[in-house]
């Protein structure tokens, strides 16, 4: 089959490799019909994630059709159309039993390696380094899905690939970000970062009862999308003082909930590497952290700060005193995709009324064979290029 393989910094190649095979009884093989490039794939593209090996297959947002099943998978059949959560979960441990799927104890074969680094191991991820399990990703023609009985969700034929694809990662991530923000009916919610996750967080904030959403970014195209599709008021942080403006817009109270969809974009994954980066690239690192500091500083007393953006190490000058004195609630973490999929599939179908169509974020399409060009475009042109979909 054809697959996108990683060969180092800004070197990804589409190569002919062996087809995937069933390795465990709970495995399935999926023929991929659509796959996307995630913003976090750019960290791999830039060689910032340790424990990658030459030839690793990338991609964690993918969907397709079941073509082969392991002997223990009884709830799927050949030909089912499925979306695959990017987090891999066993479905049987303490954490899976409590729907904390991204904290699964058992899915990462290299859990001992992760424990040495972080003191614990979360779930494995597709195509995201050997620290996170070393599973081959889905920017390919076929993929092996472990624990397929809990890790593949059937979707009805009435949904197109474009409508269903983002159920794998970014739509549930936006949804959980809004849930973590503890939004009450009538609340004003501020969202930092208008990438794909930010866009879906805006939408999810309304689903959770928000009256107003204020979106913050500096890329005009992304702010435009937040206005037209997200019905959000927007702030360009290069043009206005965000803290002052938010204060004015909320009558001096501050937003009820603040959501950081930026994260620490510039990161290596070891705590020491993070600390070094903060120290050596001070300007860049303080910029990145700025979103979280601003969210905490802006939030009203007794409000909630939700963090879907990824952080990996130690943070410098984190305003914990402000968070404490305002009695804030902070909630964060990797998305428990499995927990939200039944509900979100219903939202996309629409229950009699027109459903939510997440495909508006797609700005670029490429065949899988042009994936290296797609990565280059996505990396170099963040204004125009918001979401890239690849077709095998």
């Amino acid at each position: 089959m054809k697959a996108l393989c990683w060969y180092g910094k800004q070197d990804v190649r589409v190569l002919n490799v062996d087809d995937p095979a069933i390795l465990n009884p709970r495995d399935a093989i999926i023929r991929i019909t659509s796959t996307a490039i995630c913003g976090s794939d750019l960290h791999l593209y830039n060689g910032m994630i340790p424990t990658m090996q030459l030839g690793d297959i990338l991609g964690h947002e993918f969907m397709g059709e079941v073509i082969e099943l392991g002997s223990s998978v009884t709830n799927l059949k050949i030909g089912d159309r499925v979306v695959i959560p990017f987090t891999i979960s066993c479905g049987g441990c303490f954490f899976c039993n409590r729907q904390l799927y991204s904290l699964c104890d058992n899915s990462n074969p290299n859990a001992a390696m992760a424990e040495k680094m972080y003191g614990y191991s979360g779930s494995a991820l597709y195509g995201y380094s050997h620290l996170f399990g070393g599973y081959a990703g889905g920017q390919a023609e076929y993929v092996r899905v472990p624990f397929a009985d809990v890790g593949a969700f059937k979707i009805p034929d009435e949904l197109s690939d474009d409508q269903a694809l983002f159920l794998t990662d970014i739509l549930p991530t936006g949804f959980m970000a809004a849930e973590n923000a503890n939004i009450q009916r009538g609340d004003t919610v501020a969202v930092w970062g208008c990438g794909p996750v930010g866009q879906f967080t805006i939408q999810s904030a309304y689903w959770h009862g928000a009256e107003r959403v204020i979106a913050i970014d500096h890329i005009p195209e992304r702010l435009e999308m937040a206005r037209t599709h997200g019905k959000a008021e927007t702030l360009n942080y290069e043009e206005v003082n965000v803290l002052e403006t938010l204060n004015e817009m909320t009558g001096g109270i501050g937003p009820d909930a603040c959501i950081d969809c930026v994260g620490l974009e510039s990161h290596g994954f070891s705590p020491d590497a993070i600390y070094d980066k903060v120290k050596t690239k001070l300007m860049l690192a303080t910029d990145r952290l700025h979103a979280l500091r601003e969210a905490i500083t802006a939030c009203r007393k007794g409000g909630s700060v939700s963090v879907p953006g990824v952080y990996a190490g130690y943070l410098d000058k984190f305003p914990f005193g402000a968070a404490f004195s305002k009695g804030l609630t902070l909630k964060m973490g990797q998305t428990h995709v499995h927990r939200y999929l039944d509900e979100l599939i219903k939202k996309v179908i629409g229950n009699g009324k027109p459903g939510f169509d997440p495909s508006y974020i797609i700005t670029h399409r490429y065949p899988l064979s042009s994936a290296p060009e797609a990565y280059k475009t996505f990396y170099e042109n963040k204004g125009e290029c918001i979401k890239v979909v690849l077709t095998p």
Binding site: M1, C5, W6, Y7, R13, G55, A112, R144, S369
Partner: protein, 259 residues
């Protein structure tokens, strides 16, 4: 608590206690060789004089002390003990490596106990054990991987077994491996499942030094127990061991050609 359960605990306790006092770690042959070498060097050193004579005399005093007390500080540091032991002890105090590790498994205590109790299940999650065969009511025969592609074999016996609470075993004399261990099972509240605590001691060929070197390659007892208990949990909770061995990937060399 059954009497023999306590004897396992008191075994570990006495082992720790003995490390705090100066105990003999040389056998009679070594003691006499040490005394003889010390006396010889002492006579030579005193008769020669000068710096080299002084050095020899110092060395002689050390050897005499080592022989007369039967205690060698170097052996102590290296974990070596050459004294003759009574056949009652599987692994003498000061020898071997002790590991203790706990893990919680989200399954009922009966199921967890039953799985471990069937010794023939053990190779399914103990990576370096090739096979365990039941040879008697409480006895079994073990075959394990050894370095350089070799195999080692030994017999073991369960000397205490309390259903849903404890299994304790020890290796029998004459085998290639000396080990003693116990696993305790305890129910955790609110449906959290069962905690298991493995307490194990074994005597690697070459003593603690070998285990320390093996540790550099992640093959020491602590790493192996860690991996085995993790696999035990995975097998019970997920029904299989997660793996990427044998999955597809691009060539592991950057010389691969683009399509």
């Amino acid at each position: 608590m059954p009497v023999s359960t306590q004897s396992v605990e008191s075994f570990f306790e006495s082992m720790k206690a003995s490390q705090r006092t100066l105990t003999a770690n040389l056998n009679d042959t070594e003691k006499w060789l040490s005394i003889a070498a010390g006396a010889y060097l002492g006579v030579k050193g005193l008769s020669r004089g000068g710096p080299s004579g002084l050095l020899a005399t110092g060395l002689a005093a050390g050897l005499l002390y080592r022989g007369l007390t039967g205690h060698c500080y170097l052996y102590d540091q290296l974990g070596i003990d050459t004294t003759e032991k009574s056949s009652l002890t599987v692994i003498p105090a000061q020898q071997g490596v002790h590991v203790k590790k706990s893990v919680t498994i989200a399954k009922p205590i009966e199921e967890v106990f039953r799985f471990w109790d069937d010794v023939e299940n053990l190779p399914r999650f103990m990576t370096h054990i090739i096979s365990v065969t039941t040879t008697g009511e409480s006895r079994s025969h073990w075959i394990a991987e050894a370095p350089l592609g070799l195999q080692v074999e030994w017999d073991a016996e369960v000397f205490n077994r309390v259903p849903n609470e404890l299994i304790a075993w020890q290796s029998l004399p004459g085998g290639a491996v000396q080990s003693v261990g116990s696993i305790r099972f305890a129910e955790q509240p609110n449906g959290r499942g069962t905690s298991v605590t493995l307490n194990m001691k074994y005597n690697p060929t070459g003593g603690k030094v070998t285990d320390a070197i093996a540790g550099l390659f992640g093959r020491d007892l602590a790493s192996e127990i860690d991996g085995d208990l993790r696999n035990f949990k995975r097998l019970l909770e997920a029904g299989e061991l997660p793996t990427v061995d044998g999955q597809t990937h691009g060539p592991r060399s950057s010389l691969s050609r683009m399509l």
